[in-house]
Symmetry: C2
Subunit: 330 residues, 2 copies
Amino acid sequence: MPGHESYAGKEVLITGGLGFLGSNLAIRLVELGAFVTLYDGLISGLGGNFFNIDPIKDRVNLAVADVGDRWAMDRHVGYQDIIFNIGMHSSHLDSMIDPVFDIETNVVPQIYFLESVRQYNPEVRVVYIGSRAQFGRVEEPPITERSPLNPMDIYAASKQAVEWYHMLYNKICGLRATSLRLGNTYGPRHQMKHAKYGVQNYLMRLALDNQEIEIYGDGSQTRELLYVDDVIESLLLLGENEQCIGEVYAIGTEERVSFLDLVKEIIRACGSGSYTHAPWPEDRKAIEVGDVITDFTKLTAHTGWMPSTTLSDGLKKTAEYYRRFKQHYW
Amino acid sequence: MPGHESYAGKEVLITGGLGFLGSNLAIRLVELGAFVTLYDGLISGLGGNFFNIDPIKDRVNLAVADVGDRWAMDRHVGYQDIIFNIGMHSSHLDSMIDPVFDIETNVVPQIYFLESVRQYNPEVRVVYIGSRAQFGRVEEPPITERSPLNPMDIYAASKQAVEWYHMLYNKICGLRATSLRLGNTYGPRHQMKHAKYGVQNYLMRLALDNQEIEIYGDGSQTRELLYVDDVIESLLLLGENEQCIGEVYAIGTEERVSFLDLVKEIIRACGSGSYTHAPWPEDRKAIEVGDVITDFTKLTAHTGWMPSTTLSDGLKKTAEYYRRFKQHYW
């Protein structure tokens, strides 16, 4: 891994800063000597959790406000060198049950955020977290940045629109944006209260509690699981690389696993839990994307990124974390 | 043209009912014996104009309210057989100057509209007006429904998102939606106050007023101009054809014309006006999509639609209309 010396002394804003990705990124950035502002709306049911930033709580600025709150955001964007725009809900299923929630959480605030940036810091560097779901069910694998867009739920359609908005703000005001279309990520600091997003994380809760995990269908669908440290590494690389401006990246790993084997690995890492098979619920089946196989050549070519944590190691570290800090997540 | 007997006695709601497409469609539907409800927010600067429905004003229901106004919309969706969802702004340039206006006019109300439909008439037939701009600048012409999505302005990105929302409501509640990705359309009843959308119409105002038309660059970019009656015909066909549910259609004409020749044709049809060349303004150049060449085979195959009005005839009819009713549009 390169040293990321470029972050030392930089002002960095992270939306969703108290969440899973935001807090892990913040911890890393503080280590690197960046001045970090965490911005989080603490929306009920999402991943914001003060305990996530326990190791750095005295070394960051914290703004608790909605991403779309111009009054609050305007005060923070002006002096930033880089913004990691991570604050969002990521529930596919919720977006289909309550599309208004999706638009109000993931779309409208983003336009206000971009307007805030336009007014006070138009050419700032922004790394936006897109979603693998923007590709939907891919008819001709592997997934690359050139795969057709085929969002299968409201969440994914909205994420694509907001990615486009980011890229178009380059025309509007010179914004220097990059988007990372992120898939399944796991690791410490994910919310563990429900399975609505990051189901791979919730499964670990079930296993640690020695519960039975339900696998819909035969569990043969292929998944790529990224350990959060590897994702943070990709974000750091994207944020400091000029070549990545205006570009969109797919990300994945060559270590693929069936959903069934993932569950078995989780049970092994936890030393507890069991599984059973169950029929697909209709609502989940309708938005299930099938096998995930990603060609992340472009990301590697532009930044040198490669995942470095095996699933087995990552799950072990994750199980250790939650075993130790269970009371803050359960 | 088929007879469209299926519309006789049907309840039909048209959002944007006082606008260009909405009013022309309403007049046709009233002739066909449909019970038409016009729904229009009369948003300042958009195309809503009471004079547009002068020929049918005593034979339609009229609701003046925002498309996203649940209180108003809820009262109207329940008893509809078909909804033509046309109400929107269509200014590419405005969407880049004021993206908040774009989201608030073309995105947020649409989700509330769809929620209203879900609650009171979930399986209603909806024909949504998308935009050719969703394709953006097409690297490999001709444009077909399978061309990559490449929106070049906020308007186009939003239109794509809302098209996806419509299609996804099929999963959410069984909505039977179709989208027509419409390009440049001209004819009677377009707003003539400014050139922000439907520039081809505004050019006719300039010519009728014997003004000089500015052509940016050499005017060699290819355009396909559809006469409004041909577009209305396509909407009627899409609305009564079960095969079109869940489908997206590109539309165009084989009668292509350079922008320069279009201007010459307009001047000829009006018998007045002149033109000159001018350099491209930066903001317009940034969102200019280049040549437009559409393969509308799918639309023809599914519905039998073909354009039947030549540019020369259509422009003559249009010039006659505005000459006669100038005071209602200038």
